[in-house]
């Protein structure tokens, strides 16, 4: 009796230790990577200070680190434009699909939008390259944004759908029983009631667009000798800068890549915690 109890305890203890050991093993690479980024990137950011986000990148043999201004601005603009394009489309589709769920338009667009999330983003990049970039004759901020928009679309759609589903049936009935059309209800009631979900969706899709590399590879181009060249001209973006500089042979470029990586993580964390705190505040 006592013996079997002891053995059970021991078994339990062993299994628990094993589970903890395996989980630690799994997060070690993650944390060691994060640790390296913080140490290496931290050195660069402390060294460069604010000029890291305001200045142009260094030349390969320069001694000063310079900054990532073109990439930062490019990322901000491209992600913003991407959400400005995909957000309204995703929102309208989400509205139609939840409100007119039996219409064939809803059924078809739901499938189309959802299937977007299954397309590898490099294919999206190639698609935009062959349709937009080839036609316009140059890679551009616009083409990059379009590529990001396609990648962000299913994300925004999923968030907006849950925003629409967060609207209690009783409020739908309240709007309808006052004689509102579905569009009036959307404008006066649904948007207001679910605005925190909608904002969260916008933020999360923005984050998604901000961190994506592959959609930009064939579309965005590269820009380092000025901060901004125009919407129809090549631009830079943080993930692309990291990708290209990390593979380059120059020491100073490696430093910039570390700094840019940390910057990306910081921006990600800030936006993400903003989205989290928004969702926490949701009350009806």
């Amino acid at each position: 009796m006592f013996r079997s109890y002891f053995i059970r305890k021991l078994k339990n203890y062993l299994m628990l230790s094993l589970a903890i050991f395996v989980s630690v093993l799994a997060v070690i690479p993650l944390f060691s990577m994060l640790y390296m980024v913080i140490v290496e990137g931290g050195k660069v950011l402390l060294d460069a200070g604010l000029s890291f986000i305001t200045e142009l990148p260094p030349t390969p043999l320069s001694s000063s680190i310079g900054g990532v201004a073109p990439a930062l601005l490019g990322s901000v603009l491209a992600s913003t434009l991407a959400i400005a394009i995909s957000g309204p489309i995703a929102f309208l589709v989400a509205f139609f699909v939840t409100e007119f769920k039996n219409s064939s338009f809803s059924k078809i667009s739901e499938v189309v939008v959802r299937s977007f999330s299954g397309i590898p983003s490099i294919i999206v990049s190639m698609f935009v390259y062959s349709t937009v970039v080839m036609r316009m004759g140059t890679q551009s901020l616009f083409a990059g944004s379009l590529s990001l928009a396609i990648v962000a679309l299913p994300y925004a759609y999923v968030y907006f759908t849950s925003a629409m589903k967060s609207i209690p049936e009783s409020l739908r009935e309240a709007a309808m029983s006052l004689g509102m059309s579905r569009f009036k209800a959307l404008r006066y009631v649904y948007v207001g009631v679910s605005k925190k979900y909608i904002l969260t969706g916008i933020l999360m899709s923005y984050i998604k667009a901000f961190g994506e590399t592959a959609p930009l590879l064939f579309t965005m181009g590269f820009l380092m000798n000025s901060v901004f060249a125009g919407f129809l001209q090549p631009s830079n973006a943080l993930p692309i800068l990291v990708f290209i500089y990390a593979l380059s042979p120059y020491e100073v470029f490696h430093k910039v890549a570390w700094g840019a990586t940390l910057l990306l993580i910081i921006i990600y964390l800030v936006l993400f915690s903003l989205a989290r705190s928004l969702l926490k505040g949701v009350k009806l």
Binding site: S170, S177, G179, S181, Y188, G192, V193, K283
Partner: protein
């Protein structure tokens, strides 16, 4: 113009194979209050919803028969237009949580073009809140949100919101279920007054309330109206055995 605001004949409603209304005939005179009584589950809410086609939003519902409201067949007119004139107040209070107390009441007035400027809007809101005995309680916090109100206050807010739409017909589903007795009496008094301006169909499962407010009553039992008539007659002298039992509280 017909003397009746509502004329229902042979109304049958099935929801996913379940017979909810099994041939209802009903007429409501303009500027009167009809109270529909009946035990819960008898189909009162469903009957009320067919009158302004809120039944459109119930999946798997099948409605047959004729429903003529304000002289028009409800199945052939624009449902939004219908619902702007025939407003329903649900059993559970459902104020818009993202709007202030003032805006909750002001919205339908705006949508229906009741007020042309801010001053008029304020007057309509005040009028509606007074009618439901809520004005004194909220006049100093019109900019607050409804979640700061009690359940009874919220229900009155929803009533005020419906009134501010200036409907021709008001459909009330157990409007005083969450409201304390003294305010209930006052609201019933308001309803009696409002009858001058509109037609009211009210659902209740409490016979006492019907006694106080109704011009006419109808007793719905298991999807059929078993008795209807002028309130006094039905209460003094019920012809149907089920009515008798219901009024004595036996069902």
């Amino acid at each position: 113009m017909s003397a009746y605001a509502i004329e229902v004949s042979n109304l049958r409603v099935r929801v996913r194979g379940l017979d909810v209304l099994r041939g209802v005939d009903l007429k409501v005179r303009r500027n009167t209050i009809l109270v529909i009584m009946g035990p819960s589950g008898s189909g009162k809410s469903t009957l009320l919803r067919t009158l302004n086609r809120l039944t459109d939003f119930i999946d798997g519902i099948n409605v047959e028969g004729s429903v003529v409201v304000l002289g028009r067949d409800v199945f052939t007119i624009d449902p939004c237009e219908l619902r702007r004139k025939v407003v329903l107040v649900s059993q559970e209070p459902n104020p818009f949580p993202h709007m202030t107390i003032f805006d909750n009441v002001a919205l339908p007035a705006k949508l229906n073009g009741i007020a042309r400027n801010k001053q008029e809007l304020y007057e309509v809101v005040k009028w509606a809140l007074e009618k439901v005995m809520l004005w004194d309680e909220v006049k100093n916090r019109l900019r607050d949100y409804p979640h700061s109100l009690s359940g009874g206050q919220r229900q009155r807010l929803c009533l005020a919101r419906a009134l501010a739409a200036k409907p021709e017909i008001l459909l009330l589903d157990e409007p005083t279920a969450n409201i304390d007795p003294s305010n209930t009496f006052k609201i019933e008094e308001s309803l009696r007054e409002l009858r001058e301006e509109l037609t009211i169909v009210m659902v209740t499962h409490m016979p006492h309330q019907a006694v106080r407010v109704a011009d006419h009553v109808a007793l719905l039992y298991d999807g059929i109206i078993v008795e209807e008539g002028p309130a006094k007659e039905v209460f003094m002298n019920p012809k149907n055995d089920i009515t008798n039992k219901f009024l004595r509280g036996a069902i």
